[in-house]
Amino acid sequence: MRRSTIIVMAAIFGLFILTWILRSTSLASVQEHYLIGGFKVTFSAFLTLAILSFLYKDNPFYKFAEHLFVGISAAFWMSMGFWTTIVGNLIPRLSRSLSEFFQVPYQPGSYNFVYFIPVILGIMLLMRLSSKYGWFARWPLAFIVGTFAGLNFVRYLRSDFIEQVSATFVPLLVNWQGVEHFFSNFSLSASGQFVAIVGNWVIFLGVICGIIYFFFSKEHKGAFGTASRVGIWILMITFGASFGYTVMGRISLLVGRITFLFRDWLGLIS
C-alpha cells in the first residue's frame, strides 16, 4: 500500500478516536453508558461521511460503506420476514408445539394442513439457487405472477380507469348565473369564478389532449395534431411540477443528514 494511503488511514482513525472521546464526554451527564453511546454516534457519522466521500471520487471508504449496507439490509429483511410472517402467521396454523415454543397463540382450524402448500412453494423458490434444479422455482414464480396479475387487473381497472373517468366530469361553467353576472364581478382572485372556470377547462382539455397524445391508432395530423400538441404542453407543465417537487424532496434528504452531523455528532446546534 502506498505511503499516502497509510497516512490517510491513520488520520481518519485518529479523527475517529478524537470525536469519539469528545462526544462521550459531552454525553457523560446524560447517559450512563456514555462511552458506547459516543461510539455509536461517531460510527454512524463515520458511515455518513464515507458515503458522502463518493462525491469526491469512488474510493475504498465508499465501497466499504456500500458493501456493508448491502449485507445488513438483506439480513434485516430476512429477520423481519421470519419473525413477523413465518412465526406470526404460518406457525400458529401449522403446529401447536412450535406455537408454544414461540409463545404465539395456536389457531386451531380444520383446514390447517393447507398451509403446507406455501411452505413447499417457498422451498421450491429457494431451488433457484442451484443451477440444475433452477426450473423448480417457476411454480412459485407462477403463483406470485398469478396473484399480482389477478389482483391488479381489477383494481387498476376500477381505481385508475373507471374512477378517474367519472372524476373528470367537471362543469365547464362553475356556479353560472348568466353572462352579465360573469362580467360584472370578473376578477383574477384565486377563489374567484373565472379562475375556477379556467381550471376546469384546463382539466377537461388536459385529460382529453393528454390521452390523444398517447393515442397510437390515428396519425397526429389536422385537429388531432393540434390536440396532441396541446396535450404535450399540459404534460410539460405536469413534468415541471414533478421536477420542482423532486428537487424539494432531494434537498430535504440532505438537510436531514447535515442536521444529524451538526446536532447529534458535533453538537453545534441544540
Binding site: 367519472s166 366530469f169 391508432s217 413534468f239
Partner: protein
Amino acid sequence: MLSFPVTGQVIDTVKAVPDSELVVVAPVTSLIAADHKYDDGKMIDLSWVPSIDDRLVEGNVMGYKVYRIEGDSEPETIAELAPGSNAYNDQSVERGKLYSYFVSALSSNAETPSIRTAPIQPQREWLNIELINVLIMALVLGGAVIYFIETARRGKKLFVRKIAGLEAVDDAIGRATEMGRPILFIPGILDMDDVQTLAALTILGRITRVIADYDTKIFMPVSRSLVMTAGRETIKASYQAAGRPDAYSDDMVTYITDEQFGYVAAVDGIMVRERPATVFLLGAFFAESLILAETGNSVGAIQIAGTARPAQLPFFIAACDFTLIGEELFAASAYLSGEPKQMGSLKGQDVGKAIAMAAILIGVLTATIGEAWNVEWIQHITTGLRDIFSTR
C-alpha cells in the same frame, strides 16, 4: 315510560341507587337490521335513530350497547359505541342462523333498551350486482386486447402511427456515423423481467441493424448478467441480418456491476474516455438518470432517452435532446417489432382510451349544461353516467 334495567342482565355500572336518582334517557328508535347486500352471508347491518337525549350540549347519553340474541339464547353484548353513533355492522354472524338485535342507550347509571328486531337470517349472494359496470368494462377491454392480438397473429397488418421518437433515433445514428465517433447504449438498471428493458432491447435491434452497414462502434455497459446475454444475441442477430456477421464482437456488451451507483460511476468513466457522439438511455431508470444525462451533456453527445417511470421523465426531458415519454417507449417497440402481443396490446389499450375520451366528452358536456342551466333531464344523464363510471 319508566325504564327498568334489562332483566337477567347484571349491569355492573348500576350501583344500589334509588329509582328517583336514576338518570333516564329516551330509547333508540326505528332500529332496522338488514342483511348486508352482496356478501358471503357473513354480515348484518344495523341502523337506528339515536336517542333524543343524545345532544352534544349537556346531553346525558354516555353511549350505546348493541345486544344480539342468537336463536333463543341469552342476549350477548357485541359492541359498545360512542355517543352520536347511529349504525353498526355485525361481521361475526354465520349463514343459516337466526339473529335478532336490540340497542340500549346508556346514561351515567341506567340503560334503556329499544324494541327487539324480528329475527333475520344472513343471506349469501352469488354475484355482486353493484360491480356489474366493472365486469362489463373488464370484458370490453379484455376482449379488445385479445381480439387485436389474435388478428395480429393471423398476419393482418395493424396500423400504428409513426412514432416521432424513431426519426430522432435515426438522426442521432446518422450524426454518429458522420462524425465517426461511437454510440453508447444504456438499457436501464432493471432485469429482463421488466417490460421497459424488453422495449429497450427491441429498439437496440433496430439501431444495430442500421449501423451494421457502417463501421460505427457501439458500447453497451449493463448492470444485469441476463441483459448482457440478451443484448449480445440482439446485436449478433442484427449484424447477421445485415450480412456482416464478422463485424460483430462479444465485447460490444460488457457487464459492470449490479450496484446502482457503482454502475453509474463506471459508465461515467466510459463516457469521458470514449466521448461518444450519441448516447441512448432507454429502459427503467431511477435516481442515477441525473448523473448519466449530465455527463452525456458535458461530453457534447446527442442524447435520446426513453422510460416509463414518471419520476425520471422531467430530468430526461430537461437534459436530453429527445425523450420517448412513457407509453411511447412501448409503442416504438411494437412499431419496430410488429410482434402480435405488443401490437395487440397497443391497439387494445387505444380502445380503452377511446372509451375514456368519449365518456369524458359526454360527461363534461352534460355536467356543464345540466348545472349551468339546471336542465332536469340532462342532469339525469350525468348522474347515470357517473353511476356507470364509479363504484363509490
